[in-house]
Amino acid sequence: MKKSAVLSLVLCGAMAATGVHAADYAGPKAAPARVSVNGKELPNIGGVWIRTGSFLFDGSVRDPLKMNPPYKPEWMKEFDEHRKQVAETGVNTGDPTAGCLPPGMPRMMSAVYPMEILLTEDQVTIITEWMGQIRRVYTDGRPHPEDPDITYVGHSTGHWEGDTLVIDTVAMNGETRLDQTGMKHSDQIHVVERMRLLSVNQLENELTLYDPVAFTQPWTVKRIFNRAPPGEEMREFVCMENNRNPIQADGSVGVVLQGNEAKQP
């Protein structure tokens, strides 16, 4: 091999390793309104989405004391006592995510930080930046397993009704909360979502929660997401990297101080 050929091979290798081809990059593209998946034209719900609304499960409500879940009386009593105590003392308790457990379904669909949706042949994949959770929504026509394991994200199947993706989710962990205010649900919860574009840059997710153990009737809330600017990248979120906020014996969140060794409790 000629010297020049060897040199260009070495250079090519170096360029690939350092990503020098960035000069060819024309910049991020705006999202198209529709994409082709399996030869089928679908509304482009893919991309990175940013939640609007409040941090509560029902994003149209900002005050936890004004939240009105259709709880059975005993569930409502417990929630009422909890939220009143939090409002009076200012000390929040009972949020498993403070200890870095994942929010799970359905809380992850109202989470702070973006979520990314990927449309592929037999599956819609939803990745939330917060806690790095992944939902796999099988769109190949399969049913739920007969006796599924209970997991944080549950088991999801989906199908398109016109331009709306309908997602059915079962087998969710009953120890997660609906949001930071400590709203509980049971592991019998069943979630149906209707996801559609309001415009190319706006996504609506209508969630209906069926929980025969906790609720007297289904509870439907809508969440609106704005499409992130073109080129927006999802970040890594490893909660145990440096969690200095342990959950204490009373359920409140503590702080791990550093330095001043003699002063540590």
Binding site: A98, Q180, C239, N242, L257, K263
Partner: protein, 125 residues
Amino acid sequence: MTKVLVRMMALAAVALPVAAHHSFSMFDMKKEMVISGEVKEFQWTNPHIWVQVLVPGEDGKVVEWSIEGNSPSTLSRTGWSKRSVTAGEKVSVTIHPLRDGQPGGSLVKIVREDGSVVGENKAGP
């Protein structure tokens, strides 16, 4: 002119959005205080960032304060980076102190020695 600019920048700094992975109720969010000292370490980490600040006390003894900020997820989208704060630099930090009086707090804003404010402090997603 410089002084006016510094004052304007200080005014432009508003409280960080509490878009956190947990409640910040261990801090007294109604109380604000300012600590001044030298940055010992900037922990640009999940789930929250921490700024360790060495603050000389009245008795001459240096106390290390642990200041908790938001997550890199929120802060990186509001003008912060891993280089926003550097070990060794002098800073004044406005915090909501811990309720129990220990040397810790939640971050409201950081002002460098030259008066510049760290980050843009816009409301995050």
